[in-house]
């Protein structure tokens, strides 16, 4: 029933001036790059706008009017989290009747402050379908919403005044602090849910439920830009102190009170958790650069150190909600893609977080729950039996000459696409042609040229795909250097109930193979140098000659003829 919610916020604490504007601008930037908000917006567009048509403003309370119009579609007009769109969402929209709010500045079990509620209305919940409303609703509307939300729960009527915690100031980060934090990550057993490297793949992750008995994911700590409540070290510290009510994430306040961990150590833990994610949230690179490797061989393994030397592009994925059966709960929400080539072969390495190597029996119950929740109203039932993890890299069959590319959802009859298909229950990869979602057919075995190797460790897949840049086959794509070649990606987490059209998808991006530096590249400058040099010498020589002649001429009057 109830789910993801709310708040963090301007508090009466001594945090650095992290006020609303600071947090908001930070999130504004991250929203721009995170895929889930895009997905959330799409879901909202699908369900909410239609539901928001009513609204006779005027005599009625501003909070109610605003709520019924913009919030009720998901949270339900009675605040019970049972809006018309709710069943398409996981986490489910918050049920306000129990006044359980995830993001607070108050102790576990306490009511949130008004500022806490307002903050989440403003910035949203990045890893859910809850958008921020700061730029969509007026200040008065958002304030009125805070008051109206509170009327859904009698807990706000009891006269209890929520007290914001004084969180103090963040300690300074250092290597020693991070080491201490890592030790505390072990000691506090954060890995039980979040996994050894924070990718949400801990031993208990597959059994977690929220307060509405819906399956809930342990946060992937390597993606702090998607943290509900914010990804700064201060935000993380607050979550550790207060817990996220309504979720399995407990408060560590009692652990501090009991002297098991000091506040300083808790800050170190927060710093360590922050360090698991990149310094900055990834931007979206439209172009994946395949670097040219000239004096070394292409990598032969997924963990070849050569991969550390090339750039990484982040490709966000969203649920496939265009073709039925649609998929509203994609597990794979982003890929880290690298590429290189040596003039003969193209190698691509793709990494993504996935808590299990599907099919994993430990996740069978999770899968059943997800399918039960997300699939029933979406056409054909999902694939029966064990489902693997899958990844597809897609190109057009030919490099388009103009701007037109095949339909990104695996092409269509007129304009097919060419794919590299990999799945976790088979070795290697398959080249295929597709003319629409679900129509892929493998190329003849004689024309199969792509090779694949994959490794799964600590909640992460690493997949390497290699193929000659050009092949004999007429059915595939011959890559060329120096051109932006469209590429798109599809991913499935089998243990999350994903197969067929129940997939995570990207739009078209580009891969750009750096131009080979052919002999002319080296000769041209030399030639240019030589030509310039000889021309220079010529000019100088002639000038000198003319000078000498001139001198003669000038010094000596021309002979009379």
């Amino acid at each position: 029933m109830r789910l993801i919610e709310v708040i963090n916020g301007p508090t009466a604490c001594h945090l650095p001036p992290l006020g609303r504007s600071g947090i908001a601008s930070r999130f504004g930037r991250r929203h721009a790059v995170g895929p889930k908000p895009v997905f959330g917006a799409a879901v909202l567009a699908l369900f909410l706008l239609g539901a928001g048509a009513g609204g006779l403003a005027g005599q009625e309370d501003l909070g109610k009017v605003t709520y019924d119009r913009w919030c009720g579609g998901c949270h339900g007009v009675d605040g019970d989290g049972l809006g018309v769109a709710a069943e398409y969402m996981l986490p489910r929209p918050r049920d306000f009747t129990l006044a359980l709010y995830q993001i607070r500045t108050t102790a576990s079990g306490e009511l949130p402050t008004d500022a806490d509620i307002r903050h989440i209305i403003d910035v949203g919940m990045p890893n859910t379908t809850m958008p921020g409303w700061e730029n969509l609703l007026s200040e008065a509307e958002r304030d009125a919403l805070v008051e109206y939300l509170k009327t859904f729960s009698r807990f706000f009527g009891r006269g209890d005044v929520p007290q914001a915690i004084d969180f103090g100031r963040a300690t300074k980060v250092s290597e020693a602090v991070l080491t201490e934090g890592q030790e505390q990550y072990q000691a506090m057993e954060c890995f039980k849910c979040h996994g050894d490297f924070g990718r949400g793949d801990g031993a208990s992750a597959s059994t977690l439920e929220d307060d509405g008995s819906f399956p809930i994911r342990a946060a992937d700590l390597t993606e702090n830009w998607k943290f509900n409540g914010g990804g700064s070290v201060e935000d993380i510290f607050r979550r550790l102190r207060t817990g996220l009510d309504g979720t399995p994430m407990p408060s560590y306040q009692d652990v501090v009170d009991a002297g098991v961990i000091t506040e300083e150590q808790l800050w170190s833990l927060a710093h360590y958790v922050r360090s698991l994610a990149p310094e900055d949230a990834p931007g979206i690179d439209e172009v994946i650069r395949a670097e040219l490797i000239q004096d070394a061989a292409l990598p032969t393994t997924v963990d070849d150190p050569a991969w550390d030397a090339v750039g990484v592009s982040y490709i966000p994925l969203v649920g496939q909600i265009i073709v039925s059966p649609r998929w509203f709960d994609p597990r794979v929400d982003g890929l880290w893609v690298q590429a290189m080539h040596d003039g003969q072969e193209l190698a691509m390495r793709i990494r993504w977080s996935d808590p299990s190597q599907s099919p994993d029996p430990d996740w069978a119950e999770w899968k059943a729950l997800i399918i039960d929740l997300m699939a029933p109203k979406e056409g054909d039932p999902p694939e029966a039996g064990p489902t693997p993890d899958r990844l597809v890299v897609q190109f057009p069959k030919e490099i388009p000459t103009g701007l037109e590319r095949p339909y990104f959802l695996m092409g269509d009859q007129r304009n097919p696409v060419y794919q590299w298909q990999w799945r976790s229950d088979q070795s290697g990869a398959v080249e295929a042609e597709a003319r629409g979602l679900g129509t892929a057919t493998a190329l003849p075995s004689a024309e199969q040229a792509v090779t694949a190797s994959a490794a799964f460790a600590d909640g992460q897949w690493t997949l390497m795909l290699r193929r000659p840049i050009t092949t004999e086959s007429a059915s595939d794509l011959d890559f060329t250097t120096g051109e932006a070649i469209p590429v798109a990606f599809f991913a499935w987490d089998g243990d999350n109930g994903e197969s067929g059209t129940r997939a995570a998808i990207s739009s078209w991006y580009f891969v750009f193979l750096e131009e080979p530096t052919s002999a002319t590249v080296f000769i041209a400058p030399l030639a240019a140098f030589a030509i310039t040099g000889s021309l220079g010498l010529l000019v100088v020589g002639r000038a000198r000659k003319r000078e000498q002649e001139g001198v003669v001429t000038e010094d000596e009057p021309p002979d009379e003829e």
Binding site: A187, M188, E189, P248, V255, A258
Partner: protein, 286 residues
Amino acid sequence: MFDGIDLKKVMAATVAAFIVTGCGGGGDSGGGGDSGGAAAVENPVDAATAGNIAGSIAFEGDPPSPQTIDMDEEPVCADKHASTPMIEDVVVNEDGGLANVFVYVKEGLESLQFPTPRQPVTLDQNGCVYIPHVLGVMAGQDITIKNSDGLLHNINASPTENRGFNMSQPVNMESMRSFRFAEVMVPVRCDVHGWMTAYIGVVGHPFYAVSGSDGSFDLSTLPPGDYVIEAWHERYGTQTQNVTVVTGETATVTFTFSESMAGAVVPLGEAIDPHDHGSEAVRADQ
């Protein structure tokens, strides 16, 4: 589950009480008072005129076969169990006695106020199970929550009448909590170990019990009078019986549960309509 009328009255009264006193107030179940005030309350029961209830919980038919708990992921806990640990939802002995049934006086004590015991009750986590699995406590009485396993447990209490909590206990340690209002029952779970569940019955008076391994329970030193006794089981729901207590005598009562009752009654509190002061009108508008 809350059938509207009673609840509304109780809620209205409760809200009124808050408005007047600013704190405290009665819960909806278990009658009796609350713990809100610190003011000392004398035990109103005269032992000389009191009577007792002796009861038993019978299980009819074949109980479902018990589910084992796979504790492989926590060898420290697994080693604490001499035999394979079992889920404690249905525990029936050879004579058909059903354990872990919470029994309490639901009606008949409304006019009396009882002192809150100073002695805390203990909810222990030992061997990755809650001990006890079902626990009774008075509103406002301290509960010592103890981790005897020395590994991470979280204690996630999700009441509906009270405010809940979700705390971490990653080492051997103790924490104290209490519930302000009567509530039957408050579910408690450990998210790290999905099999760990406990239920806490919070009532406004001291007349509650949990049936033992033989299915028996006692409610002693009750003022003479007519009572409604409720028996709650996590799988089989609730039952009530009317019992008359006479001075110096022990009334007997037997509750009978069977597998056919599984899931028939939602045993835990449900969310309450937030707009019970005017929700009908609001809904009609929409």
